[in-house]
């Protein structure tokens, strides 16, 4: 009896142990699968597994201060390229980014860890004061930035942000083409992710939360 009982209890223990291990293993698989699913590019965001460090550039902000690589450090930056004479895509995107900012600001420390930067590709019409007035309307914390064509091209090129300003002499409303994507640069000034249009402020804030959790997970 005693022997059977011992055998029986060893057997039960073994089965229980196996079940526990299987459970742990399955949970790990699910966890990995989950985070992998979050890493997959979707319709809202593409996250880069290996964020690309940005290199020096020199632009000017709407207060006529230098806006360079250092300005991207220490915060998560949402960058959007556009121009103020843009009736459809730019106001729509900035309104959604303002919503995203409101959502992010609801979380503890959220407001302090992000900045939103509107980069005008049309410096001949978008002066510093005009940019300030423009971004202010959407969100007083937004920063308007522009510069000379070479430096706009420098930063845009690093992010793969396409644009084309078709300045035509004598034409007041010359066409401007620009990517409608929003670029996410991490606090180490690395190109971390890109948000694809059509933009939705709430979706952007939710994806940003996932990005932060993943980064925090990697750090620990």
């Amino acid at each position: 009896m005693h022997r059977i009982s011992l055998k029986f209890s060893i057997m039960i223990t073994t089965v229980a142990l196996a079940a526990t291990l299987a459970g742990v293993w399955l949970a790990e698989i699910y966890r990995q699968h989950d985070s992998r699913a979050m890493l997959l590019p979707d319709r809202v965001m593409t996250l880069f597994p290996d964020p690309k460090p940005l290199t020096a550039f020199a632009l000017t902000d709407d207060g006529k201060r230098v806006f360079d690589l250092a300005a991207l450090k220490g915060k998560w930056s949402f960058l959007f390229f556009g121009f103020t004479h843009c009736p459809d895509v730019c106001p729509t995107t900035l309104a959604e980014l303002a919503r995203a900012h409101d959502e992010i600001a609801k979380s503890k420390g959220g407001a302090e860890m992000v900045q939103f930067v509107f980069i005008s590709v049309d410096p001949s019409r978008d002066t510093a004061s005009k940019l300030r007035q423009y971004v202010d309307y959407f969100d007083a914390t937004f920063v308007g930035v522009t510069g000379d064509n070479a430096q706009i091209g420098n930063l845009a090129g690093q992010l793969g942000a396409a644009y084309q300003v078709a300045i035509t002499p004598g034409m007041e409303n010359y066409p401007v083409y620009h990517t409608a994507a929003v670029f996410l640069v991490d606090p180490q000034a690395r190109y971390h992710a890109v948000f694809t249009p059509p933009h939705d402020g709430e979706a952007i804030s939710k994806r940003f939360k996932v990005v932060r959790e993943l980064v925090r997970g990697k750090a620990t």
């Binding site: 009736p87 459809d88 895509v89 396409a162 620009h178």
Partner: protein
């Protein structure tokens, strides 16, 4: 949003005002709005949903408004990974079909507003269709 009751004004005659339900000439518009822009901006965009209540195509050929220097029918398009706008000389509404003017797609480009338009302001824009039909539509400025 309920369908607005559009009023059809004949270009040639003056007095005949036909209600929207008219099956022969009916194009109706709903959810017509203009995005409020930062002060001093010379460009705004208007959006709406158009419905052709007839069994033949209706062609939108122009738009105008006393509130703006000019109004153009535009479409935001993707070109080599960039967004840009192209002028649409005309847009055909399929028989009994509808067409949405929405952010990132078709829109009325409203240039040089004659006064500062703020959320809640009503603005009338006239939509002109081939054959002479002019449809005055009340747009609401929204933030």
């Amino acid at each position: 949003m309920r369908w607005q009751v559009p009023v059809f004004v004949c270009l040639a005659s003056v007095l005949s005002v036909v209600p929207a339900a008219s099956k022969d000439t009916g194009v109706s518009v709903r959810d017509a709005w203009i995005r409020e822009t930062p002060p001093g901006m010379a460009m705004m965009a208007g959006y709406m949903e158009l419905r052709n209540n007839t069994s033949r195509p209706q062609v939108l050929v122009a738009a105008s408004s006393a509130e703006f220097g000019s109004v153009m029918i535009h479409r935001t398009i993707a070109k080599d990974g960039m967004a840009g706008m192209v002028h649409q000389p005309q847009i055909e509404l399929a028989p009994n079909g509808s067409l949405v003017f929405a952010p990132g797609g078709y829109h009325l480009m409203l240039m040089t507003p004659k006064r500062a338009l703020r959320a809640g302001d009503p603005v009338v824009i006239n939509l002109e269709f081939r054959g002479g039909l002019v449809l005055p539509v009340a747009f609401e400025v929204r933030k």
